[in-house]
């Protein structure tokens, strides 16, 4: 019998997490995935790109090993092996998800799903009967108007993370997190990278201080950063692309389009059901329920920010709601974001440019004043904290620098607990660590810096 308490459509970090949590709460779960378990994140996003970036970072470090007294001769790389390594990581983790499905007795169906009616999901020629449906189909890359990803010289993210050869001249259109990460990767391996952003800043979702520092850091590495510039035309030729930027036509060996994503809802049958949508994304309430009772949506398909950890958190909310537990809705100002560029960027909460009339105290601590950063040679970057001037509540934290993606969780916990400066100043941060700079930033915000 194909009857389940919950049917989850999509096996990414939203879908599989929803399945596991629902199973933990005693519900019978089916999960439908048409491609590979783990979704975009695991197969074509977060994970393989981190592998690529790790290789590129290692290469960069080996090239500068002599700074630390290490002699490394004839340092080189094999692009195909770098890509292969990233695919191995993705495959390994995807298999891990399959194991988790088995362990939690979640029945996995392979194929395209469509919602026939409330409580009925069709997969291939089978109909799954269920009380609750969780849509976790994610998002896919947008094309840029008439310019389409052709897989030859015009790449999307998939092509960009499986290059056969290193493009000597690379154009990256869109300087969001994905574009900036690819820029860092290809620049590190030797491509001449032009990074194009139509907004006035790269990383437009970040605090403007961070965007400016990031642009500076990328330019210093040799990336041609062009902001406030739209792409007027992009034409694929025999062995190159021709781009028109600010009236000028320039040739590149390849172009990567990273101009955002659109919800993946085609074929689900949402229109027939009358599920409310907004700008292509499914509208949900604070318990992740759509406009139709019994149908939930989580992750990218339910709207920005399109981040795996946001999807996973929404998965918990949806699964617990379905199991009848009281839940707290997603708090959007508490979702951290990470960009694994060189240098890294991590942030959470209020941006200073959004403070408006609100009185805030801001601390900006440069990493060059941190002992551990000096030792490792990663003195580039800054930790910025923003507090409510009246209440002392930590409102936001914006970090740029080596390995800051591993630091942001400290501020995420602090904001989650509604910490004031008092608790952060009372906490003892270990020495010598880069994390000390987090506390220094708080000290600065309250006019009592120690090392500055």
């Amino acid at each position: 019998m194909n009857e389940f308490d919950v049917v989850v459509i999509g096996g990414g970090p939203g879908g599989y997490a929803a399945g596991i949590r629902a199973a933990q709460l005693g519900l019978s779960v089916a999960l439908v995935e048409r491609e590979a378990l783990g979704g975009t994140c695991l197969n074509w996003g977060c994970i393989p790109t981190k592998s690529l970036l790790h290789s590129a970072e290692l290469y960069t470090q080996m090239c500068s090993a002599s700074d630390f007294g290490i002699e490394a001769k004839s340092v080189g790389f094999d692009l195909s092996k770098i890509v292969q390594k990233s695919r191995q990581a993705a495959d390994q983790l995807s298999q891990g998800i399959a194991q988790l499905m088995k362990k939690n007795k979640i029945q996995v169906f392979t194929g395209d799903a469509s919602i026939v009616s409330v409580g009925q999901v069709q997969v291939n020629d089978q109909v799954l009967v269920t009380d609750s449906i969780v849509i976790a189909t994610g998002a896919e890359q947008k094309s840029l108007g008439p310019i389409a990803i052709d897989g030859q010289q015009i790449w999307g993210a998939r092509e960009a993370m499986t290059p056969a050869a290193l493009p000597a001249r690379l154009l990256i259109v869109g300087a969001g997190a994905i574009g900036v990460e690819f820029a860092s990767f290809y620049q590190a391996l030797g491509s001449a990278v032009t990074l194009l952003e139509v907004a006035p800043n790269i990383l437009p979702a970040e605090d403007t201080d961070i965007s400016a520092l990031a642009a500076e850091a990328l330019a210093q590495r040799g990336i041609n950063v062009q902001v406030g510039q739209g792409l007027q035309a992009l034409t694929s030729l025999a062995d190159c692309v021709e781009a028109t930027i600010a009236g000028e036509t320039i040739q590149f060996d390849a172009a990567i389009l990273s101009v955002g994503v659109a919800a993946r809802v085609q074929g689900l049958g949402l229109e027939a059901l009358g599920v409310t949508m907004d700008r292509g994304f499914i509208v949900v309430d604070e318990r992740q329920q759509t406009s139709i009772a019994g149908i939930y949506a989580i992750g990218d398909v339910a709207g920005a920010p399109c981040l795996a950890h946001k999807a996973t958190h929404e998965a918990m909310i949806a699964a617990e709601t379905i199991a009848g537990h009281a839940v707290q809705g997603l708090q959007r100002d508490r979702i951290p974001g990470c960009t694994y560029s060189f240098p890294q960027i991590a942030s959470i909460g209020l941006r200073e440019q959004d403070a408006g009339d609100r009185a805030v105290r801001v601390g900006r601590f440069p990493l060059y004043a941190n002992g551990k950063a000096v030792v490792s040679g990663h003195t580039e970057g800054m930790i910025k904290t923003i507090f409510d001037a009246e209440t002392g509540a930590l409102l936001g934290a914006h970090l740029i620098g080596d390995s800051v993606t591993e630091l942001i969780q400290g501020f995420a916990v602090a904001i989650g607990l509604e910490t004031t400066e008092h608790e952060l100043l009372e906490t003892i941060f270990p020495h010598p660590t880069v994390s000390e700079a987090m506390q220094e930033s708080v000290m600065l915000a309250f006019d009592r810096p120690l090392h500055l």
């Binding site: 607990l417 509604e418 910490t419 004031t420 008092h422």
Partner: protein, 448 residues
């Protein structure tokens, strides 16, 4: 006693002390005491004079002459060294130690500082964090303080009760800070965070939270501000609590005082300085005798039963520059008027000199408050909980009484009784007050 400090060390840090020698002066919101050394040895201070402390805090150690003195006292539980701690008071302290905010862990801006682990343990063990001395940074209460508290004999139900409720509140640091700033009672708020944790959003919806501008305006305006601490804090809390927890009402009755005035004049002459009876002393004696006749007025109400008390201990409100003290004349029904006059004089002097002992506060069963010297003719005193009545003594004035159709000038005094209607109704209360008035009108009975 809820807070106190060493106001002066008489024996310097590291110096020798002999058993019985004066060691330090303890100052609390109510008393100043000189504390004697309990053994011979070397004195080591762990707190400086002037630092606020909670009951049970260690102020220093006496090490026997042959005992090694450790370099660091932080971890010294020291069974060997005599612990010189701020003493816990007996009966009166138990009554006031349930104050919801401990001074030792109060950061001055009103935030109660405690670690999450300490709060959890305190909640599990039913220990009130309020009232604990915090040994963490900045007086923050840490887990070890909670564990220590459970070992202290003074931590009985009384100390835990009310304050415990306060500390069981699960609220974020920000919510606690905002509640303090905005004057919001966290115990009245339902938390929407994980496990019912009170978060900022909950405060924004609290009725009082709307007045965000109010505290800003009420803040640093002209003049200075008076910190609510020590005696002021105790008075504020106890008076407010009294009005909130009992059914108080007041009535006045006029006593004819001509004979009392004459009697007092005679006694002043007769006792010739041995004792100087005041009108208040006459009232004390009259009330003591009336309480014997009306035992319900000398009782304690506690929801399930009214305890009629055998002893009559008369509290005597004494005004001092810092506020108000209520020393107690114990066993007042067994004392002669002369003894009462002597004892009340002693207590009043000690109160003003700040030399009252802890025992001088203990066990009051009824209270007398005199405002007559300020020309007051009537007022509504507030009951000193958990007592049932308090009598306000007003000024002596020239009144009229009638002999047939003829008005005569007489000495009169109004007595203002506040009593607790939960235990005593209007008629019996009036009968009690009439008895007091009668004793004063026929004052020879006060000498019997």
């Amino acid at each position: 006693m809820t807070e106190g400090m060493v106001s002066e060390w008489f024996i310097a840090d590291g110096a020798k002390v002999k058993k019985g020698e004066m060691l330090y002066a303890l100052e609390t919101e109510k008393v100043n005491l000189d504390v004697d050394a309990e053994m011979d040895g070397f004195v080591k201070h762990t707190v400086e004079a002037g630092v606020m402390l909670a009951p049970g805090d260690v102020v220093g150690y006496i090490f026997a002459f042959d005992e090694p003195i450790p370099a660091d006292f932080a971890g010294v539980a020291s069974p060997a060294a005599a612990v010189v701690a701020a003493p816990k008071a007996a009966a009166p302290a138990a009554a006031v130690s349930a104050m919801p905010e401990p001074v030792t862990a109060d950061s001055g801006d009103g935030r109660l500082k405690s670690s999450p682990a300490a709060r959890r343990l305190a909640s599990e063990l039913g220990v009130a964090l309020a009232g604990l001395a915090g040994s963490g940074p900045g007086g923050r209460i840490v887990e070890a303080d909670v564990q220590q508290a459970t070992l202290q004999p003074g931590f009985s139900a009384g100390a835990v009760s009310q304050a415990n409720v306060e500390m069981k509140i699960n609220a974020s640091p920000l919510a606690r800070r905002l509640a303090t700033e905005r004057g919001i009672d966290l115990s009245q708020i339902k938390g929407s965070g994980p496990q019912g944790r009170i978060v900022q959003a909950d405060l924004d919806q609290a009725p009082l939270a709307s007045g965000r501008a109010a505290p800003a305006q009420a803040g640093p305006t002209a003049g200075s501000s008076v910190p609510v601490r020590g005696m002021r804090k105790t008075i504020a809390q106890r008076m407010h609590q009294s009005l909130q927890t009992s059914a108080q009402l007041s009535m006045d009755m006029t006593a004819q005082m001509d004979d009392a005035v004459r009697l007092r004049g005679q006694l002043l002459k007769e006792w010739d300085g041995e004792a100087r009876p005041t009108y208040t002393d006459l009232v004390i004696k009259a009330v003591a005798k009336a309480l014997v006749q009306h035992p319900m007025m000398n009782s304690r109400f506690d929801d399930t039963e009214i305890t009629l008390l055998r002893e009559i201990n008369m509290g005597l409100a004494v005004s001092v520059p810092e506020g108000l003290l209520v020393p107690v004349i114990r066993g007042v029904h067994e004392l002669s008027l002369k003894q009462i006059a002597q004892e009340s004089a002693r207590l009043a002097a000690a109160a003003r000199a700040g030399t009252l002992g802890l025992d001088d506060y203990a066990g009051g069963t009824f209270t007398i408050s005199a405002l007559g010297m300020f020309g007051v003719n009537s007022f509504t005193p507030i009951i000193n909980q958990p007592q049932t009545g308090i009598l306000g003594v007003n000024q002596l004035f020239d009144g009229l009484s009638w002999e047939g159709d003829k008005p005569i000038k007489t000495k009169q005094m109004n007595l203002s009784l506040t009593w607790d209607h939960r235990s005593v109704d209007g008629a019996p209360a009036a009968e009690f007050l009439a008895s007091v008035v009668e004793f004063l009108s026929e004052p020879y009975r006060l000498l019997l």
